[in-house]
Subunit: 339 residues, 2 copies
DNA sequence: CTGTTAGCGCTTTCAG
DNA sequence: CTGAAAGCGCTAACAG
């Protein structure tokens, strides 16, 4: 491996002069610089970023901690993050955690050792140790979700959509279509984003004086198959349901599939609204009314926020909330029982 | 930031002793070691991986160059790669190139400076400069596709499925179902994987003495929408087509969508076979017969190969070819015109 | 404009 | 078993 020394020796110069040429410093004669740059090319020299990091106390690396890169939401976020970061000269070290505490800790520890300059992360529920780890990093951080109760003291920024408002609007749309018996199919009680969506759902019903019981709400799981089991349970408990709001598109698609197989007509008998606007949700057969999340934008903006933070010493905490859009397609229609 | 010096000073020891404790070296008294480890915890010490990399000439970082992480194929590969690498103590720097030569070069150059230990990559068509860059890296490399003509001299390993055989088998299946007028919808002439698939398609027809013309083949594009335009063109030119083999699932799904909208019945009027086995291809409405690619396995095995290579000085070139499986679903059926 | 020097945080001889 | 010293490749004062 060629070093700055090799160049210097070859040209009879000092390493500092070579360094100056390498870093576009002003105090160097044009010709010397050109000569050096040429020699670098000739010797296939490539500077050692680790050595540079060591002395400058800046690695030009950021971390990206996700739960699962195969989730279309995160892969688009990751795309946006990498795009913005690489443009600013940063490399991205990425890791999947599946919201597993141990994996989260291991990944953050490894980033801590690498002395990264910034971090974009979607953590699960943080325990004391993890909170300490995050503080210990002492670098700008952007959360890909809102800060929770026990995280308010952290000096980290965040970006997320307003899940509450998004859900509220979606349900309001169903109510305007004449639906009064509306079910909810969720993923898990432990996901705070879902909590917000559920709250939006419930508040909307209440504000419109619509009655509901616990039976209107099924917590089913996170995959397509849970959409099926979800509707089934829901209709078992409340056979008069005419509309369903699900916590994500996969659940909605699973529900749709189950409904079709069991001879329900969508939207004639039952309306279904999803959440996420996956690419496949616009397919002819699915045509799902759903809430669009600006996924790539989240990634881009998260990275832009981080780039600003790493390049300024005064880091001010910022909590960004992006807006969503209800995409109306063919899985929703007027309530036939009331029209 | 705490350093090894702080620990040493605090305990009245030398840095080398601290280093020994840190690295589990044998020549250190048990009690000293314990004392040091405790002090490290107390001071929240975390070693500097960059300093270590510098002296050990080993970064414990690998690179992962993909065309597009939002492609389900690559996101699963990325998942497998990260899983295996992190288990072996390696961090993954990832980048998207969209097969753009400039982006590929920029990304590789940045990896070159970072002095990474290994690289997994899915490049496009390599030009001279890129070939030189790859050699210049002087590290173990695994390609996520077969080596092409002008790359044979490279000392890089590769892993891929046998696209030719997979296509051949899929088409053979259609022929066994009685089809003789079979069309092909492809993405682009520049994708070597597709070349192999097309060759498998053509060889299979020839070996079964089935006639075809250029009109049996449409190169349409890469997204769902191109599936639609593809079938349309195909049926315009050859209205007697009863089966279609597409170069990927998205094309097949787009074709399916167009067929349904235009009142063709699948598989009664037309059979469709895809390639990739996306998750959505098993949906009730789609139910696509397709070729399953072991995506996650490719990622895992690529990383395992790389881990072996980086931890042994004698790197031997290896070209792995994984097998595929034809998944038979409801988008294919017997040729009604002949039965 | 260029060279000398010190040192980033760590590992690794080599003595003792 | 422990310490002193050298040095990985580079940057950043400070002289000149």
């Amino acid at each position: 491996m060629k070093t700055i020394k090799d160049i210097a020796k070859e040209l009879g110069l000092s390493v500092s002069t070579v360094s100056r040429a390498l870093n576009d410093k002003p105090d160097i004669k044009k010709e010397t610089k050109e000569k050096i740059l040429e020699e670098m090319k000739r010797l296939n020299y490539s500077p050692n970023a680790n050595a540079r990091s060591l002395i400058q106390k800046k690695s030009n690396i950021i971390g990206l901690m996700l739960s699962d890169i195969t989730d279309p939401f995160f892969s688009e976020v990751a795309l946006g993050v990498e795009e913005v970061s690489s443009k600013s000269g940063y490399q991205v070290i990425y890791g999947n955690t599946f919201l597993n505490l141990e994996k989260e800790k291991r990944f953050l520890s490894s980033l801590l050792e690498r002395k990264i300059d910034g971090l974009i992360m979607k953590p699960g529920k943080l325990d004391e140790e993890l909170l300490r780890l995050i503080e210990q990093l002492e670098i700008p951080i952007v959360f890909l979700r809102k800060l929770r109760e026990n995280e308010q003291h952290l000096n980290v920024s965040s970006i997320d959509v307003n899940h509450y408002k998004a859900a509220y609007r979606a349900v309001e749309y169903l109510i305007k279509l004449g639906h009064v018996n509306i079910g909810f199919i969720g993923m898990s009680k432990d996901v705070s984003e879902e909590e917000d969506r559920l709250k939006g759902f419930l508040d909307c019903l209440e504000n419109h004086n619509i009655n509901y019981t616990d039976d209107n709400i099924i917590i089913s799981g996170t995959g397509i198959e849970h959409g099926g089991t979800g509707v089934k349970q829901l209709l078992n408990k409340k056979s008069n349901i005419t509309a369903i709001f699900t916590a994500n598109d996969l659940l909605a698609i699973g529900a749709l599939e189950w409904l079709v197989k069991n001879n329900y007509k969508v939207p004639e008998n039952i309306s279904v609204v999803g959440f996420e606007n996956l690419e496949i949700s616009s397919l002819h057969w699915i045509n799902l009314t759903t809430v669009d999340l600006p996924r790539k934008k989240i990634g881009i903006q998260a990275a832009e926020m981080l780039m600003n933070m790493v390049s300024s010493d005064h880091v001010k905490k910022e909590e960004v909330e992006l807006d969503t859009k209800l995409i109306i397609r063919k899985s929703t229609g007027g309530n036939q029982l009331h029209s």
